[in-house]
C-alpha cells in the first residue's frame, strides 16, 4: 500500500502539541495571571475552535456561510441560562422575576447543550438555506444570524434570555482554578482548561475531516456534480457539515461566554463573523493548523503586540506621529488586506502540521477554492 504515509511526522506533531500544553500549564503556575499572555491564550483558544468550525464549512465543504456569530450567540446564551447559580438568578433576571429556568447543570453538560442548541438552529436554518448558491447562501446565513440576535433580545422571551440585558454570574475560566483551604489558588488551570476544551473539540473535527465523511465533504467542495455522481448525497452531507460546524460554534460561544464573563446579544454582530472569517483566510482556507495558528496570531496582534500603536511613543526627543487610540486596528486592517490581496493562500495554504514536517510529501496545489 503506497498510501501509508510515514508515521514519524504525525508523532512529532503530537509531541509538539503535547509540549504546548505542558508549556501552558507551567507558564500558568509561574507567570502572574494579569499578564497579557493569558488573555491571548484564553481568547486565542476560543477563537481557534470557532475558526476551525468555520473552516470545516467554508474551507472543507465549500459552503460559504456567514452565520457563525449567530450560532455562537445561541451557544453562549444556552450556557449562561443553564449555569447561572440559582441563588444569583434574582439579581441577573431582576426585571423578569428571576427568570424561568430555576436549576443549573454542570459546566460540561451545559456546553454540550450549547452545541446541541446551535446544531438544532443550524438544522432548521439549513433546510431552506443550504439549497442556495455561494453568495446567496452567505447573505442568507448572515441574515439568519441577525434574526437570531433579534429573537434573543426580544422582551417576550425575557424570562429565558433576559431580553437585551446581560447574563452574568455563570462559571468562568477562573472558576477552574483549584483553591486551597485558605481560599488562595493552589493550582492554576484557567488557561489550561480552555486549551483542553478547544483541543478536544478541534480533535473531533480533525477526526471527522480525516474520515470517509471528511473525504466526501472535500469532494463536494471540489466538484458538486462529480461528488453527486459518486453517490454522495449533497443535501445530507451539506446539512451534516452545517450542523457539526454549528455545534462546535455553539460550544465556542459557550467558551466565549466563560472568557468574557458576561453575555449580551448585541455583541454578536456580523462584524464578529467577519473577524472569524478573516482569521480563517489568514490561516489558510482548508487548513486546521492554519486556523489555529492564525487565531492566536490574530488575538495576539489585536490585543497585545500592536498595543503600543495605541499609545504615545517617544523615541529620544521624537514623538512618533499618528500613534493614538485606534491606530493599532488600522495597521492591523492593512496587514489583513495585504494577506487577502497578495498572500491568498494564507499562512498554511491547505497544509497541516504533519505535512510541514514530512519532506517527502509533495506540495499540494492551490489553497482550497
Amino acid at each position: 500500500m503506497n498510501q501509508k504515509k510515514s508515521k514519524k511526522p504525525m508523532i512529532i506533531s503530537l509531541c509538539l502539541i503535547a509540549a504546548v500544553y505542558i508549556g501552558v500549564f507551567i507558564a500558568e503556575q509561574f507567570i502572574p495571571q494579569q499578564s497579557m499572555l493569558f488573555i491571548v491564550l484564553k481568547k486565542g483558544a476560543v477563537y481557534a475552535l470557532v475558526a476551525v468550525s468555520m473552516n470545516l464549512l467554508n474551507g472543507f465543504t465549500g459552503i460559504f456561510s456567514l452565520g457563525q456569530a449567530g450560532f455562537m450567540l445561541v451557544g453562549a446564551y444556552v450556557y449562561g441560562i443553564f449555569t447561572i447559580p440559582v441563588a444569583e438568578r434574582m439579581n441577573v433576571y431582576q426585571y423578569f422575576d428571576g427568570g424561568l429556568v430555576q436549576f443549573t447543570v454542570p459546566v460540561i453538560i451545559a456546553m454540550i447543550f450549547s452545541g446541541l442548541a446551535a446544531a438544532l438552529f443550524a438544522f432548521l436554518i439549513g433546510l431552506p438555506v443550504l439549497r442556495l448558491k455561494s453568495d446567496y447562501l452567505a447573505i442568507a446565513t448572515l441574515g439568519f444570524a441577525e434574526i437570531i440576535r433579534a429573537i434573543f433580545q426580544w422582551n417576550g422571551l425575557g424570562r429565558i434570555t433576559n431580553s437585551s440585558n446581560m447574563l452574568n454570574m455563570f462559571p468562568t475560566f477562573n472558576d477552574f482554578n483549584i483553591l486551597g483551604p485558605d481560599g488562595k489558588v493552589t493550582v492554576y488551570l484557567s488557561t489550561l482548561i480552555p486549551f483542553i476544551m478547544a483541543g478536544v473539540c478541534i480533535l473531533l473535527i480533525v477526526l471527522l475531516i480525516n474520515s470517509t465523511y471528511g473525504r466526501a465533504l472535500k469532494a463536494i467542495r471540489d466538484d458538486e456534480v462529480a461528488a453527486e455522481a459518486m453517490g454522495i448525497n449533497l443535501a445530507h452531507h451539506k446539512r451534516l457539515a452545517f450542523c457539526v460546524s454549528s455545534f462546535f460554534a455553539g460550544v465556542g460561544g459557550a467558551m466565549l461566554a466563560m472568557y468574557q464573563t458576561t453575555v449580551q446579544a448585541k455583541s454578536f454582530t456580523s462584524a464578529m463573523t467577519y473577524e472569524i472569517l478573516l482569521i480563517v483566510v489568514i490561516g489558510g482556507i482548508g487548513s486546521v493548523t492554519g486556523s489555529v495558528l492564525s487565531s492566536f496570531l490574530f488575538v495576539a496582534c489585536s490585543e497585545w503586540w500592536l498595543r503600543f500603536l495605541d499609545e504615545k511613543q517617544i523615541i529620544g526627543n521624537f514623538e512618533v506621529p499618528l500613534l493614538r487610540i485606534g491606530f493599532r486596528m488600522v495597521v492591523f486592517s492593512v496587514i489583513i488586506m495585504i494577506v487577502v490581496l497578495f498572500f491568498r493562500k494564507g499562512i498554511m495554504g491547505d497544509k497541516e502540521l504533519p505535512d510541514l514536517l514530512s519532506r517527502s510529501r509533495k506540495a499540494k496545489g492551490r489553497a482550497g477554492k
Binding site: L208, V225, G231
Partner: protein, 287 residues
C-alpha cells in the same frame, strides 16, 4: 410500444425519452435497450444529444417525457407538466400523463448501480489519485458519522483502501496513487475517472467519450481495457464515443443519434452499411 414482459437480461431501457430545454428539443423520443454483459455505443455528430441522454439516465436532468428502466424498475418517469404541456415539442407527449413522475437525485441512481464518467473530466482536483478513487467507496459505507470519526469502522476503511489500491493497480495507476489527480496526464485522468466510477460497485458503467483526446495507440489500449474491466467486474457498458475504430471494435450494438433523434440501430457491421448513418455521420468521416 413497451414490451409487456420485461426481459430479465435487459439492464437499461429508455422508453420515449424526450428532453426539452425551453423551446429546444435536445432529445426527441429516444428509445433504446442495453442488455446484460453488452457493450453498447451511442454515437452521433456533435450536439446530437448524447450527453444529454446520459444526464437523463443519471438524474442530472429530469427528462420532459418518457421512462428509464434499470433492471426492469422504472427509475425515471416523467411527462410534460405545467407550461411545458403547451410548449412540448416532442412526440408521444400524452403517453404517460397518467403515470406518477419518478425522480431520483444522481446519488440515488449511483446507489442503484449506475456509475459514469464525464466528457469534460471532473476529478476532485485538490485530492490525490488514491483519494479520488477512495471517495467512490463512500456510498457503500455501513459506518455513520460517529463510527467513522472514531475509527470504529477500521475494518471497512481497510477494505476500502485495499479495494482502491487494487482498482488503481487494474487501471495501471498504482505508481501515481499519491500524485494530485489534476497533475496526471490526460489519458491517465480518464483512466482514473473510470477507476473512481468502478469504486462505487456499479453493474452498469456509462462512459462519456472515454477516448477523447487520446492518440490511436492509447485508444487501442483503452478498447482492450474496457473489455477487460467489463469481464472482470461483470459489467454492462454503455458508452458515447467518437473514435469509430474503437466503437466498431468493441461494441456489440450501436445506436446512432442525430439532432436528438435515433436514426439507426444495429451491430457495427449493420451500422457501417446503413445509408442513413453514412449520410448523416460516417459520410463525413475520414475513413
Amino acid at each position: 410500444m413497451s414490451k409487456v414482459n420485461q426481459d430479465s437480461t435487459q439492464v437499461l431501457k429508455l422508453e420515449n425519452i424526450t428532453m426539452q430545454f425551453g423551446g429546444v428539443v435536445a432529445i426527441n423520443n429516444l428509445s433504446l435497450e442495453v442488455n446484460k454483459g453488452e457493450i453498447v455505443a451511442l454515437i452521433g455528430p456533435n450536439g446530437a444529444g448524447k450527453t444529454t441522454a446520459f444526464n437523463c439516465i443519471t438524474g442530472v436532468y429530469e427528462p420532459t417525457n418518457g421512462i428509464v428502466y434499470f433492471n426492469g424498475e422504472p427509475i425515471v418517469v416523467n411527462h410534460p407538466q405545467g407550461k411545458m404541456i403547451k410548449q412540448y415539442g416532442g412526440i408521444n407527449g400524452d403517453l404517460y400523463k397518467d403515470r406518477k413522475p419518478v425522480v431520483h437525485t444522481p446519488d440515488r441512481i449511483t446507489h442503484l448501480g449506475i456509475a459514469r464518467t464525464f466528457q469534460n473530466i471532473r476529478l476532485f482536483k485538490s485530492q490525490t489519485a488514491f483519494d479520488n478513487v477512495l471517495i467512490g467507496t463512500h456510498l457503500r459505507r455501513t459506518s455513520n458519522m460517529f463510527t467513522a470519526a472514531f475509527h470504529l469502522n477500521a475494518k471497512e476503511e481497510k477494505a476500502n483502501r485495499e479495494k482502491t489500491a487494487e482498482l488503481l493497480e487494474i487501471v495501471g495507476l498504482a505508481d501515481v496513487a499519491d500524485e494530485l489527480a489534476t497533475s496526471l496526464p490526460y489519458g491517465k485522468q480518464r483512466r482514473l475517472e473510470i477507476a473512481r466510477a468502478l469504486a462505487t460497485n456499479p453493474t452498469l458503467l456509462l462512459l462519456d467519450e472515454p477516448a477523447a483526446g487520446m492518440n490511436p495507440q492509447e485508444t487501442d489500449e483503452l478498447g482492450e481495457f474496457i473489455v477487460d474491466i467489463k469481464n472482470r467486474f461483470n459489467l454492462t457498458v454503455f458508452m458515447i464515443e467518437h473514435h469509430m475504430n474503437l466503437v466498431m471494435e468493441i461494441s456489440d450494438r450501436i445506436y446512432v443519434l442525430d439532432f436528438g433523434k435515433q436514426i439507426a440501430e444495429g451491430t457495427p457491421e449493420e451500422i457501417q452499411k446503413n445509408p442513413v448513418v453514412i449520410a448523416a455521420y460516417l459520410g463525413v468521416d475520414e475513413e
